[in-house]
């Protein structure tokens, strides 16, 4: 227990270190090491790892940094995440990063990639334009070329030629990482009081800024401790959070939901760490194709992926059923077009399936939680009393 507390404390500190000291320290320990920052939601970190790099998740500044310059770069009706990230760049928090990847999830992140080019940050800046065509021969070919471009960017910096063995090794490490994360989610589904949502959040977010090997050790430790009967159950409902996959809610908000009587047993906070559902084949002689095929066939439901033939609403309801949750809290960042444009359809799917839900919006530095706590508390009471 003491070790768990210590690990969680360490994760908390790592998760919100906006100077990325651990990542920079890791880089300083090897001449050909590179740091590649990436924005939400997902990039295949395996390719960076195999090229002796560290993919570092840049998830915004939350309520940990005052935004001054960033507000001069963005109008009031644009979400908060990019203004925090440009602030980090202009304040030199990201100095030492070799490159940046901006996944194709929305127009704000897309245009931020161009802003990084203009303010000349990093040795390379790529808009990571994942395919919206899921045929291996069409979208798969395009995606593979995209991955190869990023690998060439890294090689141009450190000269590392990635071998099949190295890439398979990296794939195996990230398979283990995702598997451990899922095991912890599974235990929390049944015994959410053993590890609070906030603590788990810190553990997951820490994994974005440290080597996967070290994160796997942390996850193993957490997993081993929470297999024991620890903590006291409370009379809370169990809910799934949906819509927080990019800009992250402040910790106070997650805490408020829990304190209001809701166990968060599944969420999309760190969706990039869970993007591939299941393992990527780590035994082939063509690991790049294995990564491509995993993206095309095993991507998690997300507002960033065109899924007309595989509706997200149904998948959310399936997730609620599988987790045996009592309801859904739609919790999206203000001005987040992808999440908010999905919300009506997801709500409709919940209504049709008889799944209770509420919704609210936040921004990463929201400071007032009273209303949210009251709303979540009422939601919890209504389910406990009437459902």
């Amino acid at each position: 227990m003491e070790r768990l507390t210590k690990t969680i404390k360490e994760c908390e500190s790592l998760a919100f270190d906006l100077n990325f000291k651990e990542a920079k320290k890791w880089k300083s320990e090897g001449a050909d090491r590179v740091l590649v920052g990436y924005l939400p939601i997902y990039v295949p970190r395996e390719i960076i790892h195999a090229a002796n790099g560290l993919g570092v998740g840049i998830m915004g500044v939350g309520d940990r940094k005052q935004i001054i310059k960033g507000d001069a770069y963005y109008q009031s009706y644009i979400c908060h995440l990019p203004r925090g990230i440009i602030e980090l760049a202009l304040d030199h928090n990201l100095d030492g990063f070799d490159g940046f990847l901006f996944p194709a999830i929305c127009d704000c992140v897309r245009n931020l990639s161009g802003m990084f080019k203009i303010v000349k940050k990093g040795k390379f800046t790529r808009y990571f334009d994942y395919p919206q065509n899921f045929d291996m021969n069409i979208g798969g070919t395009f995606y593979r070329e995209l991955i190869e471009t990023v690998m060439a960017d890294i090689k141009a910096i450190n000269g590392v030629e990635v071998t099949v063995e190295q890439l398979n090794h990296s794939i195996a490490l990230y398979n283990k990482n995702r598997s451990l994360i899922e095991k912890i989610y599974n235990i929390r589904q049944e015994f959410p009081w053993r590890l609070s949502a906030v603590d788990f959040y810190h553990v997951l977010r820490a994994g974005l800024v440290i080597p996967v090997e070290r994160h796997n050790e942390m996850l193993e430790e957490v997993y081993s401790v929470i297999q024991n009967d620890i903590g006291e159950p409370m009379d809370n409902i169990r809910i799934v959070i949906s819509g927080s996959f990019c800009e992250q809610p402040p910790i106070g908000l997650i805490k408020s939901i829990e304190m209001a009587g809701c166990y968060i047993i599944d969420d999309d906070f760190m969706l990039g760490s869970r993007w591939i559902m299941g393992d990527v084949d780590a035994t082939t002689d063509n690991p790049l194709n294995a990564l491509v095929s995993a993206f095309l066939e095993k991507s998690v439901p997300s507002s960033a992926i065109y899924d007309v033939d595989n509706p997200k609403g149904k998948r959310l309801v399936d997730q609620v059923r599988m987790r045996q949750a009592d309801g859904v809290i739609f919790c999206a960042a203000s001005f987040c077009d992808p999440a908010l444009l999905d919300r009506p359809d997801l709500q409709k799917a919940c209504d049709e399936a008889g799944v209770a839900h509420i919704n609210f919006q936040f921004h990463e530095n929201t400071g007032q939680f009273k209303v949210i706590k009251e709303q979540a508390g009422t939601f919890s009471d209504s389910i406990k009393l009437w459902v």
Partner: protein
């Protein structure tokens, strides 16, 4: 605010009005006549493919902006919000969904037919993707074709990107179009249409470039949105569009020869006091009032980025009849909102210099992150590179709640005063040298 008077119409305007009237009549009779209907988007549209298969295109963005101009968008948006759409999201989407909820009545007052195919040519706007996911749910079971247009993230179009798009076209999009149309693509017909497209594009570019003349014979933004209509929507590749652009070209060049100023809804401008480059779409709910603020002040928009959302033809691109699919791919990737931010800055800088602009103005649209995210950095860059006064106003596409006439007029008047002051100073400096 004064009431704008009845607009004066030139022959090209009459031709365009007839073209639109004919299209909407065809659409309202589509089902009886067995015509298939394809819903698609303006940027990166594949109009020639649709028309070559004798299908009729419908553009939800155009429906939305016309609803805005007809003062119907406000209630449509509220209806979509009642359905659960947030106040924060794109108002084109909400207006379109609200319009469908209210019977899908088009600008002529007739009902638009439901789609036989949703053709998502997803170019330069991530929200398009979400929009069509929502449309698919409003029309369950409708056929869908998706064309993912890669972003010019590195400031160029690569062979990998072209191959990706051509493969999508040949293996998925065209077979789906053929399936819905019930016929095979006639590539000779397609090539002929692309030849027409190319000729219209050449005429369009010459019209745009007439604004380099001082005084400019056209307003490239407010009038430009009308001029671009046939090329950016349902008529590209047709003989009728070619006829329209030939007539427009004749009119504009005659105006230029006579040294005339642009035409606005109240007649001809008498004086060109300020030459501006504008970035961002216009507001549609108060379009006439918005335009009037400019022409009342003698401000002419000599170049705009919005009139490039359906193709940056003045950059040299033309559809190529000999390489139909490659050129359609390049067309999609070359649209303005598919350019990266450094490319956008370069283009605006080029416009300011080439068109001898006195200033640069951004109309930042609350609904449109594709345009708006990064505009404040664009503004700084342009100010540094070109040394012209920059202005910044905010409004929305079709949500009347976000158009504050007094606020915008106030800001623009201050901006024009600044431009006037600068002119005086520059004249004085010129005189003293």
């Amino acid at each position: 605010m004064s009431n704008p008077t009845e607009a004066i119409k030139e022959k090209s305007m009459v031709i365009q009005k007839e073209m639109l009237g004919d299209l909407f009549t065809q659409l309202s009779n589509a089902k009886e006549n067995g015509k298939k209907v394809v819903y698609t988007f303006v940027p990166g549209n594949l109009t020639e493919l649709i028309l070559a298969l004798d299908m009729l295109p419908v553009y939800p963005e155009i429906n939305a902006l016309q609803s805005g101009m007809r003062k119907k968008s406000g209630s449509y948006i509220k209806d979509a919000e009642k359905l659960g759409f947030s106040e924060d999201v794109c108002t084109y989407v909400k207006c379109d969904i609200g319009m469908m909820l209210n019977g899908n009545i088009g600008p002529t007052g007739e009902q638009l037919p439901p789609p036989d195919l949703l053709l998502l040519s997803y170019t330069g706007c991530f929200t398009f993707l979400k929009w069509f996911e929502n449309l698919e749910r409003l029309y369950p079971g409708v056929e869908i074709a998706m064309l993912h247009t890669p972003y010019q993230e590195d400031g160029k179009i690569t062979d990998d990107q072209i191959n990706y798009m051509v493969k999508q076209l040949t293996e998925e999009v065209i077979p789906k179009l053929e399936k819905v149309a019930g016929k095979k693509m006639d590539y000779d017909r397609l090539s002929k249409m692309l030849e027409n497209s190319s000729k219209s594009e050449q005429l369009w570019v010459e019209v745009l470039q007439s604004a380099k003349n001082v005084p400019s014979p056209i307003d490239s933004y407010f009038a430009g949105v009308y001029y671009m209509g046939p090329l950016f929507t349902a008529f590209r590749g047709t003989e009728k569009a070619l006829e329209y652009y030939q007539e427009l070209h004749n009119e504009v060049f005659e105006r230029m020869r006579l040294g005339l100023h642009p035409i606005n809804p109240e007649g001809e401008m008498k004086e060109e006091r300020f030459r501006l480059v504008v970035e961002g779409p216009p507001n549609w709910t108060n379009f006439r009032e918005f335009w009037k603020i400019f022409y009342d002040m003698g401000a002419v928009i000599v170049a705009s980025t919005y009139t490039k959302v359906g193709g940056v033809y003045d950059g040299g691109f033309r559809h190529e009849p000999e390489k139909p699919l490659e050129s359609l791919a390049k067309y999609c990737m070359g649209c303005y909102t598919n350019l990266n931010l450094p490319q956008r800055v370069d283009l605006i800088e080029h416009y300011i210099k080439e068109y001898k602009a006195d200033g640069f103005l951004i109309n930042s649209i609350k609904s449109c992150n594709s345009f708006s995210a990064g505009q404040l950095l664009i503004m700084r860059e342009i100010e540094q590179r070109c040394g012209v006064p920059v202005g910044f106003i905010e409004s929305d596409l079709v949500d009347p709640r976000y158009f504050s006439y007094a606020n915008i007029k106030n800001r623009l008047e201050s901006y024009f005063q600044m431009l006037e002051q600068r002119k005086i100073i520059m004249q004085q400096e010129g005189a003293s040298i």
